[in-house]
Symmetry: C2
Subunit: 470 residues, 2 copies
């Protein structure tokens, strides 16, 4: 017996410019769960450079056409096969699969290609788990033995991978030298990256000018350390610059080539300084198989850090699936943060009838995890947690201020999807600056407070029953 759900999909029938070949289709999705399969209701899914490349047809592995876009997402299990190890309501993300078909409301997925997420972790975090944090984890753990007190250097420090590297390095006591492109609000960005754990942040120009002295004076002489690893997501001369900071025998790992220029190394770096160059493609590495033990350790590590609030998603722009053209455009112009699709309940999106196959579930209840402000569920805890942390240190009456901001937040998000309101972003930055510059709170104090609050929030969440209503 087949069942069906109505769903929207972002599909491409041929490879090409995603702004042209992607189209949104509404369809009745007929399915029959085989053993080991589950039906997933996707909650959110980001746009990664990888996803753009897949639509363009320039990624190493191509999808069979027509194909649904997307490779990362978080979703709830809404229907399982009789013998399933997952159960209804489990939060999952797709893993070890190049075709999770997640730019849609519903998919059927194989259980063994899904990771069940610790229920205390936010879906937004879960939906950005499998590419950037995993890449960062592997680069820090899988090539060279790194110990607390060691140093790494990276370009593209503000990218998704870059931010994950900063957070993981910080959590493990590894110092990071971070290179970013110069921009109008550079000081704000530096504060932000230092706040999530960066030891030092330089623009490319600053590092070109002072990098050599810095590595000699600060890293070697003051700290007695060496730069053992370099992470390169840019290529061209930027690659040359960070390779030059490596100690003899150091390793440079390339995970991307944003500049679209060849990755450059000097003869002195390779021949005399004996640096080693490697590349990493997380997805291909996973698909190769045979790394089960490492993968298990990696996912455990990352989830623990996410629960403690030490691993968070990068800044996100939210979009309805209908606004995919804007989202894709933003993702491709390189001037925006990560673009995130939020899949509201299908009935909100022009379907005349609700999905009909789950008679046991109430089809007319509103979908409780959508961030429309009408619920206090797990779906949107990230930004409020951060705001609460920042507010606490500058506020004489934290309880009152916190509730004020919550209601502001609630009003603003009601029925809207987009960036958090401007005044909120500003507030965060002001608070961070206040803490770091005026009150001279150390990173450590901040970290402990953030941790305590995250744990409290997690405990609160755990007590709630998870409602899954399709």
């Amino acid at each position: 017996m087949f069942e069906y759900v109505e769903r929207r999909v972002l599909r491409f029938h041929k490879n090409g410019d995603p702004r042209e070949v992607l189209q949104m289709e509404k369809e009745k999705f007929q399915f029959k769960l085989e053993e080991g399969q589950v039906l997933i209701r996707w909650l959110c899914s980001p746009i990664n450079p990888l996803d753009i490349n897949i639509v363009q047809g320039v990624y190493a592995i191509q999808r069979e056409l027509p194909a649904i876009g997307g490779s990362e997402a978080a979703g709830r299990v809404v229907k399982t096969h009789a013998n399933s190890t997952l159960k209804q309501g489990d939060l999952v993300f797709p893993f070890i699969s190049m075709s999770p078909n997640c730019w849609t409301d519903y998919s059927v997925a194989n259980e063994d290609q899904l990771v069940k997420v610790d229920s205390r972790i936010d879906p937004l975090m879960a939906s950005t788990f499998s590419v950037n944090p995993c890449t960062a984890w592997q680069m820090l753990r899988n090539f060279v033995e790194m110990n607390a007190g060691d140093w790494i250097i990276q370009n593209s420090a503000n990218s998704g991978v870059g931010r994950s590297v900063i957070q993981l390095a910080k959590a493990w006591g590894i110092h990071s030298i971070n290179i970013v492109r110069d921009r109008a609000n550079i000081e704000k960005l530096k504060i932000e990256l230092k706040h999530i754990g960066a030891t030092h942040v330089f623009t490319e120009e600053e590092f070109a000018k002072n990098g050599r002295t810095f590595v000699r004076e600060i890293v070697q002489n003051t700290h007695g350390g060496t730069v053992k690893l370099a992470f390169n997501g840019v290529g061209g001369r930027s690659c040359l610059a960070i390779a030059g900071a490596l100690a003899r025998g150091g390793t440079l790992i390339t995970y991307g080539g944003m500049s679209k220029k060849a990755h450059e190394f000097s003869t002195a770096q390779l021949v005399f300084n004996d640096i080693r160059v490697r590349g990493i493609a997380n997805g291909m590495w996973l698909m190769e198989g045979g790394h089960e033990e490492i993968v298990e350790r990696m996912l455990k590590d990352l989830q623990e850090l996410a629960v403690l609030g030490k691993l968070t998603p990068p800044p996100l722009d939210y979009h309805k699936i209908e606004d995919f053209k804007i989202a894709i455009e933003n993702s491709m112009d390189g001037k925006h943060g990560k673009q995130m699709f939020i899949f509201e309940k299908a009935t909100d999106s022009g379907f005349t009838s609700s999905p009909t196959s789950f008679s046991s579930l109430s089809p007319n209840s509103s979908f409780s995890e959508f961030p429309n402000g009408s619920s206090t569920s797990a779906f949107y805890p990230y930004q409020p947690i951060e705001v609460e942390v920042y507010a606490q240190t500058v506020d004489a009456e934290p309880q009152k201020r916190r509730s004020k901001r919550r209601s502001a937040n609630r009003g603003k998000y009601n029925g809207q999807i987009g960036r958090p309101p401007k005044y909120l972003t500003n507030l965060i930055t002001v608070d961070v600056e206040t803490q770091m510059n005026r009150h001279k709170h150390t990173d450590d104090v901040l970290r402990k407070r953030r941790q305590k609050l995250a744990l409290e929030t997690c405990r609160r969440k755990k007590d709630q029953d998870i409602q899954v209503i399709v």
Copy 2:
């Protein structure tokens, strides 16, 4: 008690352009052998790019000034300390030392920085042992497990390292794809490289055009092989080209950067094809220490191959030490083969008196190993052996023709130092072409003949007494 010898030295008192800062000095060299030291009479010493860099002061390790140039040489032990493990007459080359001071007639050296050479090996070969063949050996043996039937690719195939790679690969049954720059006599060069063992030779343009198809059709489909290693002595786009031929997970090793351009790699090569990039500086690796076992195996391997005639020096231009300006100029203009200093007996070179400290040796006898044609000693067997080999296959009366060429050779070299006479070089090429194209002799037949002859020559040499007369 001190002793002295009179010697000529090529010395630089400051770093700079070798054509300007190098100068020839004549001096009384006073010495006293400590335990573990010997006095060496150098026979010949090549000019390596490394030597140029050292004089310029741009090499990773700098010499204390004033310094004597040179890093490779072959010499005879002429005086030993009482407890020496070496004995008078031993043929040696300097090893594991950045300052062997070998652009001179005599040096004092530490025994543990000298390698005693199999007496059947030609001094010209011995003097080019420690840089190029050792680099080639390490690249083929020390990074990736290579088996007979595997493939390597290299640029700069006509360089000293490139030729050693070709010969070692051939000896071990490894196929080599060799890239050279286009030139007027390209077909002659291709034949020459194939003759010493190259499987395929392409110009850079040919490989850019057909390389991808070649690797797919010939290497993969016809031979079922993969290119596991790439050797890069050039940099720039040439590096990109050979890196592109590597199989997934293949390794590229850089040993030089002749183009003076940064070494380039694409994102696809590093990230999707998982290629690994390494560098090698033979000298620094040796000085690091701790590789005794590998070094011993390497030197044994290389000497065995040299005795069998499977490892030979590259084409050489010979120079008196007085003509060092021409030699250095030739070495730096990139249009000539390897430049080799031949140190004649000191008395030939303007000294009024002979070295006086070795009363037991006859100072007025001519130095028997100098290639002036007046002796049939070990010093100049390389070119004649090759000629004899080639002659045998096209000659109805090999014995007669061989003796004819010998006398021609003898006349030409009498008292002169320089390239082998033009007609001889031409003859070699004609003969090789004849063999390979007209008579369709396979490489294998040629190899066996060459081997047999080399062995015979070696046996002859072994019976001779080595004369050492300073």
